[in-house]
Symmetry: C2
Subunit: 365 residues, 2 copies
């Protein structure tokens, strides 16, 4: 199976230095390796792979993930689900509370076309999902979202998870399928304790927990508590970024995604200005310093950004970059960067394979 | 003149609580007042108004700004210029060094259609602009970008500005027109000293400085040093945001742009989760705490964000929001938020006027 078979590229055949900047360039061989390596681990430990497409938002890559063995995909918003269903993906988990009449109608329409599983962590959402399931004419599977240490949303205790499971079971139009959590990085033991307790309580109440959905790229290579999960949602692992390196989940060689940028001014020996600012790199810090680094220049940091300007620290470089030079920036957090661009460019080494549309860009509704 | 005459709305006639969230909602009457008030000040002090469209990126609003009396518009990237030229705007200042053969061809094509003025702060850019002007068959006006305290790019001294003015004057295809700076907030005196010295040196060399382009919303209401400018570029003033309030440039009543969001979970008495995260609000801090506030809820802060989740601090509220409630968030920095959405919605009070496409969204090239 060849990853290239999943793509139809636009504007192929250019070399990297003919591209207009700033633009994300993605090394397809690194993507391929990242995807295969993770699928192999999932197969080896016997956990279903359900990758989160919020990172890449590309139909081609979602289809390739499925072809490699993923059980289905994860999406965060209905707009992403609609795009992926249209692209032929037929097993989707949407890990966000769906609220509001208009959104519930969209969910019902999706549930008629593909296998949709959703989450709930409160009664208002459970009631709404029931209405959507009845509109769809078939039960929608629901996982109880659990807050296992991240202090985001989710049932706050195993007992609360049990109460929600019962409520789901008693609601026409939906079916209780299991538990879901986004485990806070480094808190897998606590996660496992919570989920086991919730599952056992729910078992004792006579309900079957078929799915325990866990996830997260930062801890994906850790074994601690992973056996509690029946499926794993990872997103960022496909491209990797500085934050995942800081978490120990990947290394430089695994970073497939860089932003190609042009040096437009070198006003002093200490700084160069590049054409990638916050509208390209975002201002996500995730505990890091600076807004990205140029690995090929000794990890020179982008120490400040305005909307269209990036400030590159060149003070430590013996060979200063010149106006017109291209640099490739590894971003802190790749997911929101990918979401800024209508198109990204795939490369193989220095050869441009071509551009593809970011199918689900901006689908926050 | 009625601002409504400049718009053709999609999906009009809904009420706010029928909108799908998250979505930017913009109060058209506040926009109108912000635009008129600034145009009146420009007229009163005799400075040309050349608003920066990077904030709104809407052809309709650019045309309205011109109709109210703006001299032309400012853009930051060629993609923005192309969209605005297509929309009939015929006098554009592009305040970013243009580098690279492909971009210079695009500039030449634009210069054939509309009056393009550009900037340069180094010899490589000057040479490139000369080629573009010769391709266009007519001189392109060039302003020397000056670094008057912001420590970004630009000529580092009035003497360097003079050298660049001479170089521009000696280059076929381009014409020296004047000076441009983005003054660092609070540094207008230093800006004025730099620009006056540069202008006098250039005068003495026999070159005429027709334009001195200054700008910035933070200091737009300050008189200090403003008389040095012949034209003013302000962008954010059209919508305003938390950062501009912190700078003293506006107040709550001037904030036209909020993000309508839905409460999707209230897991504890201290926090509510909303459907607007970093892919909606960005993580721009600009020295502020949190990622936006809900003014109607006692300025309750969005104290954390994930990509699609916002964490609202409700600990101080006597009446806690419920799942399904709508909240409106005033963002820290409105410009990159506007740039995340394909469409924004205009409102008048509680009435939805309709959606419009963000014409130049994502035009970073």
């Amino acid at each position: 199976m060849d990853i290239l078979d999943f793509f139809t590229f636009e504007a192929a055949g250019m070399s990297i230095d003919e591209l207009e900047t700033p633009v994300p360039v993605i090394d397809i061989d690194i993507v391929d390796r990242n995807l295969r390596r993770w699928q192999e681990r999932c197969d080896a430990i016997g956990i279903a792979n359900r990758p989160h497409i919020k990172t890449h938002k590309l139909a081609a890559l979602a289809r390739y993930q499925i072809a490699l063995g993923a059980r289905g995909i994860t999406v965060q918003k209905l707009g992403e689900a609609e795009v992926m269903a249209e692209a032929g993906i037929d097993d989707l988990l949407l890990t966000f509370n769906i609220v509001g009449a208009s959104k519930l109608r969209r969910l019902a329409a999706l549930a008629k076309r593909v296998k949709m599983t959703v989450v709930a962590d409160n009664s208002v959402v459970v009631r709404g999902l029931g209405e959507a399931g009845r509109q769809a004419g078939a039960d929608i599977g629901v996982l109880v979202e659990c807050d296992t240490g991240g202090e985001r949303n989710g049932a706050q205790s195993p007992e609360e998870a049990l109460a929600l499971a019962r409520e789901i079971d008693a609601t026409p139009g939906i079916a209780y399928k299991g538990l879901m959590t986004y485990p806070a990085p480094g808190m897998r033991r606590r996660m496992a304790d919570f989920l086991v307790k919730a599952r056992d309580l729910i078992d004792a109440a006579g309900l079957k927990t078929e799915v325990i959905s866990i996830g997260g790229t930062p801890d994906m290579w850790s074994d601690e508590g992973i056996d509690v999960g029946t499926e794993y949602r990872a997103g960022t692992y496909i491209y990797c970024d500085r934050a995942e390196m800081a978490a120990g989940a990947c290394d430089w060689d695994d970073c497939a995604f860089t932003v190609l940028s042009t040096v437009v001014s070198v006003p002093t020996a200490d700084r160069a200005l590049i054409d990638a600012g916050s509208k390209t790199l975002t201002m996500d810090l995730l505990g890091l310093e600076g807004y990205g680094v140029v690995h090929a220049l000794g990890d020179a940091p982008v120490y400040a950004v305005n909307e269209e300007h990036g400030y590159l620290d060149i003070s430590k470089l013996a060979d200063k970059p010149a106006v017109g030079d291209l640099v490739r920036i590894t971003p802190n957090h790749v997911c929101p960067v990918s979401n800024l661009f209508d198109r990204v460019v795939f490369i193989r080494g220095d050869k441009v394979l071509g551009a593809v549309k970011v199918d689900a860009r901006g689908m926050v509704q």
